[in-house]
Symmetry: none
Subunit: 192 residues, 4 copies
DNA sequence: CATGAATGAGTGTTCATTCAT
DNA sequence: AATGAATGAACACTCATTCAT
């Protein structure tokens, strides 16, 4: 029951942070959105920043958890790579507001709040690097530096929050497949 | 020269916006950085937001202009593509602070300031789409949707502002080449 | 026993008021200290201020009662004076936290709460004035104005809350004797 | 000119802190008293607490400076003692509001602001201890512990802020003399 | 050109108190 | 008796902007 109200607050904050940005959203805005007095919010949150932390933490955790599950699979690397992209796309588009808050507003987290997010973000990058490394070890991927490759791929996959529209031409899956095709093809041995 | 002082202010603002973020930077901070009183700043800028607009406008214009020059070249598509990536990387890393402000803080621009930036950003995307389309027309690129491909590539290239370090393992050129290799290889006909 | 819980609350409040001050102590702090919810406190106290009133009332009453007992004694004035100082010192040091709250925080009591304390404080001053007057009448004390003398002595005796340390060089009794010596000597006829 | 406005603010704050107490006085109250907007106050003060610090610092400095001047005199100890009390009384009564703020509200200073005040307060006590020590060395005072004696005397002299009334029966000088008589008499060798 | 005093709306946060359960 | 959600007013403080000098 108590958690319920917090969820409501977090949901409202996600919407507001996404639409107006973290700084442009006042605690008053959030309170209005959930029909509470400004002061009453503080029964559920410690501070505005801690609320942002919890939201971004939930978001990045979702990415990490899903990718870890895929990695633990015994699918061939290539397939794990494609699944990773698909899942990333599904998640980022399904929770587009939350992901936007993560990718755009986490920067506003000050010390020491930002650490947790930075660590999990690093972890996510490392998971991708690991997949690429495995592909290289298996002789199916050819890259100069797997970390650069991972950053390149992650950039594409994250940037999505900036342009994806629910009502757009393609579904998340279709986009994921186009991306995966592009990257898988690119990762395999070039003909030159 | 009057412009001189404005440049100083803009330079200071770029540094501050990059380090602390637009919202966390006060007009006082900027004034301090250039050794002026807060009030005196307003002889050079109309408002804090207009300052941000000018900075981001300069940044995105730089990207656009450079890519247009490359496109006007009569190099083969493949080469223009590679040059586009290289130039993007050179520019984004050479003007890393300014690019960061563009890519991270332009969102804080309200109506109607944001329009100019949005338009130029769209234009930059269209230029990339155009290159890919030419590649497809020339039979050297194979993509399902050139706009999606352009967004994918742009995501990678822009994301760079988040992780590039001057003192890192690779130079901007080396990273650009790794990216170009990956994308060029990916854009060409897959063997599957 | 209901009173039991109130005593617990008062004891906690005394500690907190002494350490942090009345204003800097929140009702939450007190609730935490006694392991109750903030709201539950209000079964035992009417308000934070009323709690302060009760504490200070208890404190000043203790001073008054003890001095009245000494006055009712048939000891010689000089001895009653010395006993008064000793008892004041014993009481103030034994209940140092409570005395501190009385002497430092009673000022925060608003109308009409402050009246009771003011009245009892006046009464305590009057008791001291009375002792001195008796000494003068008995020809053993020589003072220009007994009220000023009483205020002077009380100032010394109360100030103790600001510097007395349990683990200090002297016991409360030793300090009391030094003070009593100084004052008794001073109150007797000067040689000039 | 600038200092002028600050003086105005400090004067208003002293009055308000004395009448209502530091905590019960809002920044708004002070702003109202000087006819400024709340925010405008912050051109002159860094914070409410820093304002309190400055006030209390000025107050305690006044006490210290005056006593140091007396000590540097070549008057006989007894006379310096009497002058010290007189000056303390003159100062505390002339600047009664400010002294009240010092003696009653300095406690509200948190770390690290309180240190300065604590140090100066200690210094003032040491000056008094020094005078008594000199008296003892000169053979005119007889005390067991000069620090206890100093604390006793200071208690009386400071307590004055609690009861002195401008329109009272005695002037500051008369009270000072009564106190000085009592203490000087008490400090000299008792007949017992 | 530069100042710096002044504004006034706005910020996140605290807190004593109430009350339905 | 105890909870804990909710209040609502108050709080110290910030800030972009203006403007008379």
């Amino acid at each position: 029951m108590a958690g319920n109200k917090y969820e409501e607050i977090a949901a409202a904050a996600i919407q507001l942070f996404e639409q107006k940005g973290y700084h442009a959203t006042s605690v008053q805005d959030i309170a209005d959105a959930v029909g509470l007095q400004k002061g009453s919010l503080y029964h559920y949150i410690a501070s505005k920043e801690e609320l942002l932390l919890k939201i971004t933490h939930q978001a990045i955790s979702g990415f990490v958890r899903r990718l870890e599950e895929i990695i633990d699979t015994d699918l061939p690397v290539e397939e794990r790579f494609r699944q990773g992209i698909r899942t990333h796309m599904q998640y980022i588009t399904q929770y587009l507001s939350m992901s936007t808050v993560l990718l755009r507003e986490a920067f506003s987290l000050g010390e020491p709040h930002n650490e947790v997010i930075r660590d999990l973000t690093d972890r996510y990058l490392n998971l991708w690097t690991q997949i690429i490394d495995e592909g290289v070890a298996a002789g199916v991927f050819y890259v100069k530096d797997s970390r650069i490759a991972a950053l390149t791929i992650l950039g594409s996959c994250n940037w999505v929050y900036r342009w994806f529209k629910e009502e757009g031409k393609y579904t998340a899956e279709e986009i994921a497949d186009q991306m995966a095709d592009l990257f898988l093809n690119g990762l395999k041995k070039g003909r030159t």
